[in-house]
């Protein structure tokens, strides 16, 4: 198993490098210019040239990339063209908001999504199943920002139960977390239900029943563990959807998180902030997928056995 973990950890290095190259290249060739942000519109050409030389922007792209990456590894995350402060300071303020949002949403998605999906599959073709499948299909078809706006309209503006904007206290997180979870939960329910139905049809489930295992044992011991294997992969992808959704939900509720940071930076062409923040989220996503892969290997004996056998030889 350690071999597998090491192998997976190493495999993330080219991925992270690839991500950084893509993001760096795309953002570097974008028509952004630090001068308008740092000096103002009335900047003269000379001033701009001096500034670009100062920031190393006159260097070839490859040199810029190498400099950027070596700086990153040294712990220098770049300087925001807007605030002129270190980018890391901005991220330090914004990241906890996104982290809270995505962690709570992920927990809700996993817990409710998987549970409801299983119940729906076990009670296939009952009224409950119809209600669950229909509502999850409808919710999965709604844009999350629209769900956000509708809930805001009802609970924040009409009923005034929660604040409509910002995250001054925890009540400000209620709606964003619900909105972020709902759509992805609907997808998890659909996948879990489908996977469970697939697994329940397998021969080994019939074998378990033939042994005399009661229905509870058949579902929770024999079916669930098999169903979890594909579900874990889906949850990995869903964490990506949650990060993506966070960008939109933060915009809807004006939460000061990574999403609004990136969108605002991108709109005013504050490239260093956009780059580091995007890279930060992309790497975070890769790490989460990596962790899920390792959990996956623990559950799936085929991977586990393959690596323990190789070690034995």
């Amino acid at each position: 198993m350690t071999r597998y973990i090491i192998k997976r950890l190493l495999s993330i290095i080219p991925i992270v490098l690839g991500i950084s190259i893509i993001i760096f290249t795309l953002l570097s060739i974008s028509p952004g210019n630090p001068a308008t942000l740092m000096i103002g519109r009335e900047a003269t050409d000379e001033q701009v040239a001096v500034l670009e030389a100062q920031l190393g922007l006159d260097q070839p792209l490859l040199t810029q990339y190498v400099n950027y990456m070596t700086d990153l590894l040294r712990g220098d995350f770049g300087t925001s063209w807007q605030t002129r402060g270190p980018v890391i300071d901005e991220i330090a303020v914004r990241f906890p908001v996104t982290l809270k949002l995505s962690v709570f949403s992920t927990l809700i998605v996993i817990f409710f999504g998987v549970t409801v999906g299983i119940i729906s599959a076990v009670k296939q073709y009952t009224k409950l199943d119809y209600v669950v499948t229909t509502s999850s299909l409808v919710i999965a078809s709604m844009p999350d920002f629209w769900i956000g706006l509708m809930l805001m309209l009802l609970f924040a503006l009409k009923l005034r139960w929660v604040p409509p904007y910002g995250a001054s206290d925890w009540t400000g997180y209620i709606l964003p977390v619900i909105v972020l979870s709902l759509g992805i939960m609907a997808m998890v329910i659909r996948v879990t239900r489908g996977t469970m139905l697939e697994v329940i049809r397998q021969d080994y489930i019939r074998t378990a029943r033939a042994k005399g295992a009661d229905e509870k044992r058949v579902i929770f011991k024999h079916a669930l563990k098999n169903a979890l294997i594909p579900i874990i992969t889906v949850i990995g992808n869903d964490f990506g959807s949650i990060l993506a959704g966070a960008i939109v939900v933060e915009t809807v509720f004006s939460l000061p998180g990574m999403g609004t940071l990136i969108v605002n930076a991108v709109k005013i062409k504050n490239i260093p902030t956009a780059m580091t923040a995007t890279l930060f989220l992309a790497i975070l996503y890769s790490l989460v997928v990596l962790i899920l892969d390792i959990i996956y290997a623990y559950i799936d004996p085929r991977i586990k056995a393959e690596f323990s056998r190789r070690k034995a030889r």
């Binding site: 080994y204 005399g212 294997i229």
Partner: protein, 325 residues
Amino acid sequence: MEKEILLTIKNLTVKYKTDDGIAEAVNNISFQLHKGETLGLVGETGAGKTTTGLSILRLLPERTAEITEGEIIFKGENLLDIPKNEMSVIRGKQISMIFQDPMTSLNPVYTVGSQIEESIFLHNRDLTNPQIKEKADEMLELVGITPERRDDYPHQFSGGMKQRVVIAMALACDPELVIADEPTTALDVTIQAQVLRMMDELKRKYGTSMIMITHDFGVVAKTCDTVAVVYAGEIIEYGTVQDIFEDDKHHPYTTGLFHSLPNMNQDTERLQPIEGLMPDPMALPAGCKFHTRCPHCFDKCKTVLPQDIDFNGHMIKCHLYSKEV
């Protein structure tokens, strides 16, 4: 010498509801099984053999299959009257089943040892863990697998080995009846003989009764005491192994089956397959269900369902013989 009756099936009828219509899979099947004996259910794929086997354990797919008629009396009790959740007490303990495809019958995420242990644990809640382990190891040894392999997963086993594990699971609680559904079909010919011999030994040792579902007369000859030939969900011929293999009276279908087998004693140029296909269970023909393929078919066959004709326990469901009695 009259032996004790273990299982009686009376007029069992099973239908499958599908999107395209109702499939009549099992039609009015009746038979008896004595203690310690093996009954062979022989017939082509799709004749309703497996459905019959699954009905006994009530493992038919719930939503599509329905037992519309009949009784399944096991040790004096009609299994069809038992509440659904109480069947788990009987399954595995008194009646167990060996499935056709060993490749998919084992749960891929648990070790073979733990799957055998589960069979034991489920019906012997008073045993301690070490006792269960010991019993499981015993079962592995019994089916010819070294207990060291208990912690391996099914994908590390070959097909024959997996089937041994399935058999060990089925026999772990000394059931009185084992339903073996084509236990050797998925295996290599050399392994088939080994597995059959092993099952036969185990059966003798524990006095287990068995229903052997197969399409292979070779398997029947090796293992069975009585034989029921199934065609389109009906038993069209029933008798002892001697009746089936030695008597010259047969249902034309059985004769056809024998002709389609290679025979060492006769010098035949070609095998003679039965012409045509088995009728669609969603549109069974009227009268004798075999009449569409029968070389001896006459008018009565097309309209009147033949009754069982009894020749001292050798039953044949065919109009050809009704004149004689």
